[in-house]
């Protein structure tokens, strides 16, 4: 009645092939996901890295009488369409403040126009053939070159591509995150402590738990609607301000911090609590002196991850108006500000070719910060990880 091994093996051949197919297909799926990631980073790097360099022109600036009225007079005529308008515009102002300069001249690297910049990087541009020839000549003479882009890291937004920088957005992000952390961290940790260490297991507690899990899955844009309707329209928090944005993001980050803090508290073994109760500590003393210190690395890790999440969030901030055009680097919690993702969004909407590169450059800066934060969190967890 039973079959021999050979008979069975014969029938199994087909089934083994099918089985192997599942293995390869599933491996392929994981590979595909990895490939997406590689392609994505390659694409962002190839688009964004050029943004860290900028075309500069080395030329003589003649501070003449005419130049104090019309900045263009300070340059060779054929250079004027190539030099950034911002540089030209500054000269009369500069001469008005320092009249003693009039009559002198200076050899200096000047910021080039974004069209020159794009031409040197081999991108689409609107230069005429004659202008291209002019540039080539100067490149050969070493007077036009790509150099490190100080403007990008050192200044705020601008409608002129070569003058636009990420700094005001970075400052805005830092301030928004300060607000977020100041609100979300204490409230999140306190909520988690209450739920893990104090709360009785009743319907109220369960309601809070379900509610927190649900909050974690609500689309972020709805938090923006809350921020707009409650914080801005009702409480009168200034629109576009880091305060409004930070408060909105804080509510969004809250569930992340609560959930990770609870996990961290739960991983502290009960024996520690029992020992502390045994020497006469009250519940709060047990938590403050024994449980919290042990759970702190986990709490920090969770909070950093939550913060990184908030830092990349855009949709709710658009709703509360944080897509403002911020040319100056200011530092006030109640004035209009922008944040990095919002700056990326604004730039991505600019039609000029040079802004594509700015956008990708901004993305690289943002990704670098986020990946460092996450890596830091991972290191923190690894370093303090404890197995009970």
């Amino acid at each position: 009645m039973s079959h021999t091994f050979d008979e069975i093996s014969q029938q199994l051949k087909r089934r083994h092939r099918k089985s192997a197919r599942l293995k390869w297909v599933s491996m392929g799926a994981l590979g595909l996901a990895g490939l997406f990631l590689v392609l994505f980073f390659a694409d962002m790097l190839s688009k964004g890295l050029p943004a860290f360099q900028q075309a500069y022109i080395n030329t003589e600036i003649r501070y003449s009488e005419e130049a104090s009225r019309d900045g263009r007079q300070a340059f060779d005529e054929d250079l004027i369409p190539l030099i950034s308008r911002t540089e030209v515009r500054v000269i009369p102002l500069q001469l008005r403040n320092n009249p003693e300069l009039i009559g002198t001249s200076e050899q200096r690297w000047m910021l080039a126009n974004s069209e020159v910049d794009q031409y040197l990087k081999g991108h689409r541009n609107r230069l005429s053939d004659q202008e291209k020839a002019e540039i080539e000549e100067r490149v050969a003479a070493g007077q036009v070159d790509l150099r490190f882009n100080k403007t990008f890291f050192g200044s705020g937004d601008s409608k002129i591509a070569e003058n636009a920088g990420i700094l005001s957005a970075v400052v805005g992000t830092v301030m928004t995150m300060i607000v977020t952390l100041l609100i979300a961290f204490p409230i999140g940790v306190m909520t988690a402590i209450y739920l893990e260490e104090f709360a009785p297991d009743n319907r109220f507690t369960q309601a809070i738990e379900i509610n927190i899990n649900n909050l974690a899955a609500i689309p972020s844009i709805l938090f923006g609607l809350l921020g707009l309707a409650i914080f801005i329209n009702f409480f009168g928090v200034p629109r576009s301000s880091p305060l409004a944005g930070g408060m909105t993001l804080a509510l969004m980050t809250l569930p992340v911090i609560i959930i990770s803090t609870r996990t961290a508290l739960r991983s502290v073994p009960d024996s520690i609590r029992h020992a502390a109760f045994g020497v006469g500590c009250s519940r709060w003393q047990v938590v403050r002196d024994h449980v919290l210190p042990l759970a702190m690395p986990g709490i920090m890790t969770g909070s950093i991850i939550g913060l990184a999440q908030a830092m990349g969030e855009t949709a709710p901030l658009i709703i509360v108006g944080m897509v403002a055009f911020i040319p100056d680097v200011g530092a006030s919690f109640t004035n209009a500000a922008t944040v990095m993702p919002a700056q990326i969004f604004t730039w991505s909407g600019e039609p000029e070719q040079a802004f594509v590169e700015k956008t990708a450059g901004g993305i690289l800066v943002l990704l670098t910060i986020l990946i460092s934060l996450n890596a830091f969190a991972v290191v923190l967890r690894k370093k303090f990880e404890r197995r009970w």
Partner: protein, 279 residues
């Protein structure tokens, strides 16, 4: 007496080339022949030079204290140990003239011929009917729906479960009681029509009544199958097994006809164990 009895251990190893004869019964057909079987978990040796012959259409019980290697040995017979990456096996396990551990042996084919029932009942998350019909269908044992129905009914009847479940074949297998689940697992194993059924403490998770049912079942099933069972319970071994092997620290101390082993154990250790001095 010793010369007639297959007592097997390192020191007292008879000529392994010959099948063993027993006093009262005629020579049994050999099902599985094991020679010099060694097994390591990483660097720890768990089985040390085992030699044993398992006979067809008999119940062989493996007894011994916890951690003595009896379950590990059982899993060598259908190569379930392959699933543990750190395990390394040496030696001969021969079935139907072929070395089970040979590289050309397909462990899937082996497991079709050597079925297994586990300590805890593990029905699939499927209906009772599908629990049984699934494997035969995949093995092309049945093609038509009618054949399949017939096979399911036969397996359930053989496992003594048919009357209890015939009206609820479409209910999930997990809805049954523990003893019924275990009989479902036995039915599932016999539906594939294996030669050998391995049972790894099949009753240890069950109540006494379910245990008795399963013991009766084993008695019936040995008419069709070779059964090798691991048990913690010496009374159970005495009740159901034709042969019994006593394991200790990865070695077979004694292997003999059950009645002989329980009445006049040849080894001191065996006697100590079955009289309850340790274990």
């Amino acid at each position: 007496m010793n010369s007639h009895v297959p007592v097997m251990n390192q020191q007292n190893l008879p000529d392994v080339g010959q099948p063993y004869t027993r006093n009262e019964k005629a020579c049994h057909d050999l099902s599985i022949r094991v020679r010099d079987l060694n097994l390591w978990y990483g660097k720890t040796q768990a089985l040390k030079g085992l030699n044993i012959d398992l006979f067809q259409k008999n119940v062989t019980a493996l007894i011994g204290p916890s951690g003595c290697g009896k379950s590990t040995f059982l899993r060598c017979l259908n190569r379930m140990n392959d699933l543990i990456p750190s395990v390394h096996t040496e030696g001969l396990v021969e079935m139907d003239g072929q070395d089970v551990n040979a590289s050309k042996m397909d462990e899937v084919a082996l497991r079709r011929r050597v079925g297994m029932v586990f300590q805890k009942p593990n029905p699939f998350p499927k209906s009772i009917y599908e629990n049984i019909a699934y494997a035969p269908r995949m093995h092309d044992l049945v093609s038509r729906k009618a054949d399949q129905d017939e096979l399911v009914e036969k397996a359930l009847r053989d496992a003594g479960l048919w009357n209890e479940v015939k009206d609820k074949l479409q209910e999930p297998g997990t809805s049954l009681s523990g003893g019924q689940q275990q009989r479902l697992c036995i039915a599932r194993a016999i539906a594939v029509q294996p030669d050998v059924i391995l049972m790894d403490e099949p009753t240890s998770a069950l109540d006494p009544i379910s245990t008795a049912t399963i013991e009766d079942l084993m008695d019936k099933l040995k008419e069709q199958f070779t059964i090798v069972t691991v048990t913690h319970n010496m009374q159970q071994a005495a009740r159901v097994a034709d042969y019994t092997a006593f394991f200790h620290l990865g070695e077979i101390i004694e292997y003999n006809d059950t009645k002989v082993m329980f009445s006049t154990p040849a080894q001191k250790k065996t006697e100590d164990y079955i009289s309850g001095r340790y274990g």
